[in-house]
Amino acid sequence: MTEKKEILLKIRDLRIEGYSDEKWIEIVHGVDLTLRRGEVMGLIGESGAGKSTIGLAAMGFARDGCRISGGSVEFDGLELTTTAEEDLRALRGNRIAYVAQSAAASFNPAHKLIDQHTEAPVYYRIRKRMEAQEDAMELYERLRLPNPREIGFRYPHQVSGGQLQRAMTAMAMACRPDLIIFDEPTTALDVTTQIEVLAAIRDIVDQFNTAAIYITHDLAVVAQMADTIKVLLKGNEVEEAPTAEMLENPKEEYTKSLWAVRSFKRPQKPRPTSEEPVVSVQNVDAAYGPVKVLDDVSFDVYSGMTVAVVGESGSGKSTTARVITGLLPPTTGRVLFKGEELPPNYRSRTKDQLRQAQMIYQMADTALNPKVQIHEIIGRPAQFYGGLKGAALKSRIDELLDLIELEPAKYFHRYPPELSGGQKQRIGIARALAAEPTFIICDEVTSALDQLVAEGILKLLDRLQKELNLAYMFITHDLATVRSIADEVVVMKQGKVVEQGPKDVMFTPPHHPYTDLLLSSVPEMDPNWLTTLLEERGVDNIGEAADK
């Protein structure tokens, strides 16, 4: 950015209020933002920082239950906060476009991709329907979607997540907007798929010289995409700087803490030599109906150790967990618990066998009954497995709340919706602990959480493992998490174990090609990482590597 281009978007002292508990509460407290034509600005921060809200405000849009209460949003000379709704609507999809976090949820399931693509250009009379379709196919081709002339005539559920996300970027381009808001466009994707989408977005933004606001909580991703980065915290700006400068020399404490978030790393433990494994999965095959989903899966988990099971979505990680817990009886193979074979179906297992293996889920939001108080959620397994009642139960619940570092007096009678994401996940952990298990399956327990919060959960899990000598099976697609807490790693692909071994061995070359693909796909803080990687792999292979 040598010459200063024309200013496209100028936000000054933007204040946004949200309606909750029957009053308006300010959630964005006077943020400034200046974006020039063709520039990409990264907005970064934890959830609740107001990133999306600010992004939408740049379109003059506030979600239901929110309102822009002060400040100005000036887009290409037009003051959006005072413009009539009808005129604002004429900008949206036309001069300012939006790319949502989950393309799978943001495409209308009832219409073909191309019909949704052409809706805006036809409505705005920019193109006739046939021209718009032709243009859509061209954009699909530029975004390296497979079968660009045909893919648009499919329904959203017939297209994979990464392809949908590219199709949505193509849709945003339909009217050749001046500005695109990307709202966490790759957060829901696997690392391998993320790369193809990142590359596609960067290309298309370059080609059309479109300005963009790129919202994410992933620093390494924003480093690849943005010219400047703005860090937000709880509706306030922390700092803003050009990308390279921000990465090398963050000024504020908060920014530094974000940068340092992956610092947690515990020492790797060796496998005990004399002991039997707590859980031993032996040559397991499993199927959903006629579809085979697990193929000869074997690995052991020893007490006090963490085995991380990694792989992309659809690789069979969660299915393995379902086999171990007895929810899905395997077609062949067996699961041993401390040397004893477990009945394949959980219905035939004894209460004690059920007690020994517990689960913690990815979405604490949906895994906790919102209408039940915390003490009941935690108390239920203590009652069921431990037979505790009255004062004994109460003191056990207090003990469990202490264990997960939540003050018993304060949280005993609360309901899940009153808690933050991290606190809810802690309740999920306490519920698993209440059964006094020896083995816990953690299914993507940190992937819905912000990095700082996730780190807290990982530390807690580590402490509990030391204190209670627990064995963990840690399902994740996030290799940074694996680096920080695993002792052993199992890499899965399409229902098969591709490679397994101690962590230090797994993270040192030479790797199995698939492990290598996974590892090299994890974005790094280096702003040139994506460019270098694309050159190494060859641009045309990226999509294919991920689509396989």
């Binding site: 004429a90 999809g93 943001s106 209308n108 409505y123 705005y124 499919r154």
Partner: protein, 318 residues
């Protein structure tokens, strides 16, 4: 499409089994009614011998399972036996009456279904406005009032006071369609008022339920006008619950209209059923019940198929 066909065939099979179970229930329930036709026909002065002879003549002396099988084997080929009262063939008695009921139901449905869905879409678009509230209050009032009451109110204002429509919906074979439509307008309108609220509110709820979906927000952020967001983006995904409620109400239009028929002296199947029960004319009662049951099952089947056909995941498998 092959999957859809298999699902439909499965549902159809289940429907037949259900109908079979219902036939047992109907037969059993009729058996439980106190008294039989022999006693009813011969009156109180009849001697034991007379009653026994009458029973033998009508075949009522045989054990219930035998009579059930006899009845069922006739019913599957459409022969429900003869009316015990008039002696005429039950199918011939029921057919014209059922046709009348179907006609009235279709008449009411043709008005009520589109009107309810269009109104539902409009109130969803104008949700929480005065129009929304007024529409809600009016339809709720009409659904909460007993049918006969609504019927009499309509008669009072549209027939007695103004003379626009006849109060009695008697039909004769030489009427033109227009005449029939005019004559049956009041009963049809009564039924429209009875079933509209349910369908309209479900349409509204099903649409509003979807408005928080990411794809609706996406449509708005593409600059789609509000009416188009509702009609093009929300409605196509809301069909499944709407279709189910429509089917339930259509079934009600056919099986639940006895009172309306009585009020307007309309020669439908409901009145026939009530008459048959009071006269202990069991073959007619059983046949009517079975026809009602079959109607219910078929309409629910149609609703299932409708919901499947509006789901793109099932229509266009991967």
């Amino acid at each position: 499409m092959k999957d859809v066909l298999i699902i439909v065939l499965k549902r159809l099979g289940l429907g037949l089994i259900t109908l079979f179970v219902i036939s047992i229930l109907i037969f059993g329930a009729v058996e439980l009614l106190p008294g039989d036709i022999a006693e009813a026909v011969l009156g109180q002065g009849a001697t034991e011998e007379n009653v026994a002879a009458m029973r033998k003549q009508l075949g009522l002396d045989r054990p219930a399972p035998v009579r059930y099988l006899d009845w069922l084997s006739g019913a599957v080929v459409g022969d429900f036996g003869n009316s015990l009262v008039s002696g005429s063939n039950v199918s011939e008695v029921i057919a014209p009456r059922f046709a009348n009921t179907l006609f009235l139901a279709a008449y009411a449905a043709v008005i009520a279904v589109p009107l309810a869905i269009i109104l539902g879409v409009i109130v969803a678009l104008l949700r929480n406005s005065v129009f929304d509230r007024v529409a809600n209050v009016l339809t709720l009032t009409s659904i909460s009032s007993p049918e006969f009451f609504l019927g009499y109110i309509l008669i009072l204002y549209l027939s007695v006071k103004t003379g626009y429509f006849p109060a009695i919906a008697k039909l004769s074979s030489d009427m033109s369609l227009l005449e029939v439509l005019h004559r049956t307008f009041l009963p049809a309108l009564t039924m429209v008022l009875v079933v509209m609220a349910h369908m309209m509110r479900m349409t509204r709820a099903a649409i509003i339920n979807l408005l928080a979906s990411p794809y609706i927000e996406m449509a708005r952020l593409k600059g789609t006008p509000a009416w188009k967001v509702i009609v093009k983006h929300a409605l196509p995904n809301a069909w499944a619950p709407i279709i189910n409620v429509v089917a339930l109400n259509l079934a009600y239009l056919i099986t639940g209209v006895v009172l309306v028929e009585v009020v307007f002296v309309y020669p439908g199947i409901g009145q026939l059923l009530v008459d048959a029960v009071t006269k202990r004319d069991f073959p007619v009662v059983q046949a009517c019940c079975l026809v009602f049951a079959a109607t219910f099952i078929l309409l629910n089947l149609a609703a299932d198929v409708g919901s499947i056909l509006t789901n793109p995941r099932l229509r266009h498998p991967k």
